[in-house]
């Protein structure tokens, strides 16, 4: 089972190819150049390095949100185009789930946070439970957009050790240090940002569960309406 993974949900652009339990290659760049200019050349570089015939892929997995609206669209539209051309299924992996998967096997509560602006974070809570000698990722809090105060409050109620990761850490580290009553830690540089290898590996789990879809139906989970829709709803008294 060969899977191409792609993540362009944040500042990081990352592409990876996995085959069963092997990571064949991964290319991750955290540099201020637009994903539009970097993402596909990175796929091309990696494919050349691996002598990869795209037709041998079983599926393409992509981080489907939340994240930067534009970044998500660059990744998803690229994958939609590739999926259409290759006639291969795609797997939309929730961004926060893939981030949490970076810390596979951790006994702490895992809390990825992404800066969502407007005083909010995109976040979720995960833990890894051992079943039959294998860890499974369990979702404690489904990915959502909430205030950092609300998140820390939830974690305080759990009271268990928590490890934070994601691009929201540098933004909210001070707040967490001041307000967290549960023991906490922050993931190191090699694990704390989006990794396409996690998208591909978690995509592989979904693939085995039959959770694939066509490139046509792949949808982005923005977790947020556009500003215009939000303001219109407010005007019309909807929630």
């Amino acid at each position: 089972m060969k899977i191409l993974g792609i993540d362009s949900s944040g500042l990081v652009a990352s592409v990876a190819v996995t085959e069963d339990d092997n990571l064949l290659g991964e290319y991750t760049v955290n540099y201020e150049k637009t994903h539009s200019e970097t993402l596909l050349p990175m796929v091309d570089d990696l494919a050349k390095r691996l002598s990869l015939d795209l037709n041998t892929l079983d599926a393409i997995a992509v981080s489907k949100g939340p994240g930067s609206f534009t970044g998500l669209r660059i990744g998803c539209a690229t994958v939609k185009g590739m999926g259409l051309a290759l006639n291969k299924p795609v797997i939309g992996v929730p961004t926060l789930d893939a981030l949490a998967y970076n810390l596979w096997g951790m006994t702490n509560l895992v809390c990825p946070i992404m800066d969502a602006r407007r005083d909010q974070v995109y976040t979720g809570l995960y833990r890894f439970v051992k079943l039959k000698d294998e860890f499974h990722m369990e979702t404690v809090l489904m990915q959502c957009a909430i205030g950092i105060d609300e998140l820390v409050e939830k974690i305080n109620r759990f009271g268990s050790d928590v490890t934070f990761l994601g691009d929201g850490v540098p933004v909210y580290e001070d707040y967490i240090r001041k307000n967290s009553r549960a023991p906490f830690s922050f993931a190191p540089a090699n694990l704390n940002k989006q990794r396409a290898s996690s998208v591909a590996a978690l995509g592989g789990v979904y693939f085995k569960e039959g959770k694939t879809e066509s490139a046509d139906s792949l949808k982005i989970d923005y977790l947020r309406l556009s500003q215009a829709e939000r303001e219109r709803n407010e005007r019309e008294g909807k929630e």
């Binding site: 200019e37 050349p41 990744g75 051309a85 215009a228 219109r232």
Partner: protein
């Protein structure tokens, strides 16, 4: 141009504003399909195009639109010789959807990629229904985002004689339509209302601009419409929206026609074309046709469906890029303010 034995088939994609479109075009002039999925009803709720919503809708619809274009042309990707896409100018988020999609398809299908200038596409829309039209000719491009008077020197070679220094002609239509309560999109709404009014009822200015003698300005006209309404309001007079729409439309058409006529005289042009969304305006078409007839100049205008944003025109422009050997790399980016003739 040398004739090619082989038919060159191009799948073209256009997502620069609020239409998701894909087309299959053979040899630049033979349109086998031209699917346009419009978002206008959605944006009407907001009184204009909302870029974030446009980008979201493009992403949701694009694969279906592309499949429909291939199906209608009774072809598959393996029949294609290249993938073309609008990469500017336009709304950056909207452009990026088409550019990313086109790159994904071209890369995975191992096909050349050609980025196309949106305005070049509008101009090239004229090639589709006029198999005899070849450069050089003069073209007026008028749309919601652009007002350009252009000498088409050769395929892909342009000299811009004049452009708007403020609002685009279509933008003026939208703003005035909003002011007199006609709603969005302004072009068709004003045109419809104008049929009921007297175009000579209200005296509105025909602005001259300081820069190039071919430049346009429409913000003064827009202000004049506002002033007229305010003055009438203060005097307690009612404004006839039909007369206002007709007079405004005539003012725009007069300026566009005068500039085109001036350029035709100065450059000894024998062929003149119009393009872009506003080129579907009946009053503009009639005025230009009358002017061209009077001067013995051959007049070209695309059918209204080819005036609106569509991918067939992108496929037409891309063909001439293709035979000129121009290709883009996998790092092709969207360029929201791309200038005509710029790479």
């Amino acid at each position: 141009m040398t004739s090619t034995d082989k038919e060159i088939k191009i799948l073209a994609i256009e997502t620069s504003c609020d239409e998701t479109s894909a087309a299959v075009v053979v040899n630049g002039r033979d349109v086998r399909s031209n699917i346009i999925s419009t978002q206008i009803p959605l944006h009407t709720l907001y009184g204009g195009v909302v870029p974030e919503i446009a980008s979201r809708k493009h992403t949701e619809r694009i694969n279906q639109v592309i499949r429909q274009a291939l199906d209608e042309a009774k072809m598959t990707l393996s029949d294609m010789d290249a993938i073309a896409v609008t990469y500017g100018p336009g709304l950056v988020g909207a452009l990026l959807v088409g550019v990313s999609e086109a790159k994904g398809i071209a890369y995975a299908a191992n096909l050349p990629l050609i980025g196309v200038h949106h305005i070049e596409g509008h101009i090239s829309a004229n090639y589709i229904e006029n198999k005899d039209l070849e450069p050089p000719f003069l073209c007026l491009v008028v749309s919601g985002g652009h007002t350009h008077l252009v000498r088409v020197l050769d395929y892909g070679k342009y000299e811009i004689l004049g452009r708007t220094v403020d609002d685009a002609a279509g933008e003026a239509f939208d703003k005035v339509a909003r002011t007199i309560g006609l709603g969005y999109p302004g072009g068709p709404k004003i045109e419809k209302k104008a049929t009921l009014g007297n175009p000579d009822a209200i005296d509105l200015p025909r602005a001259k601009v300081g820069g190039s003698e071919y430049d346009f300005s429409f913000s003064g006209l827009k202000s004049a419409v506002l002033n007229y309404i305010n003055k009438a309001g203060m005097k307690g007079e009612t404004v006839d929206p039909a007369d206002l729409a007709a007079s405004f439309q005539k003012a725009v058409v007069d300026v566009l026609t005068d500039h085109a006529e001036h350029a035709i005289d100065s450059f000894g042009v024998s062929e003149f074309a119009i393009a872009g969304g506003v080129a579907s305006n009946g009053a503009l078409r009639a005025s230009m046709e009358e002017m061209c007839d009077r001067k013995g100049v051959k007049f070209y205008r695309p059918s209204p469906i080819l005036c609106t944003d569509n991918a067939a025109m992108i496929g037409a422009a891309a063909y001439y890029e293709y035979i000129a050997g121009r290709r883009d790399g996998w790092d092709l980016n969207a360029v929201p303010a791309l200038a005509l003739g710029e790479r």
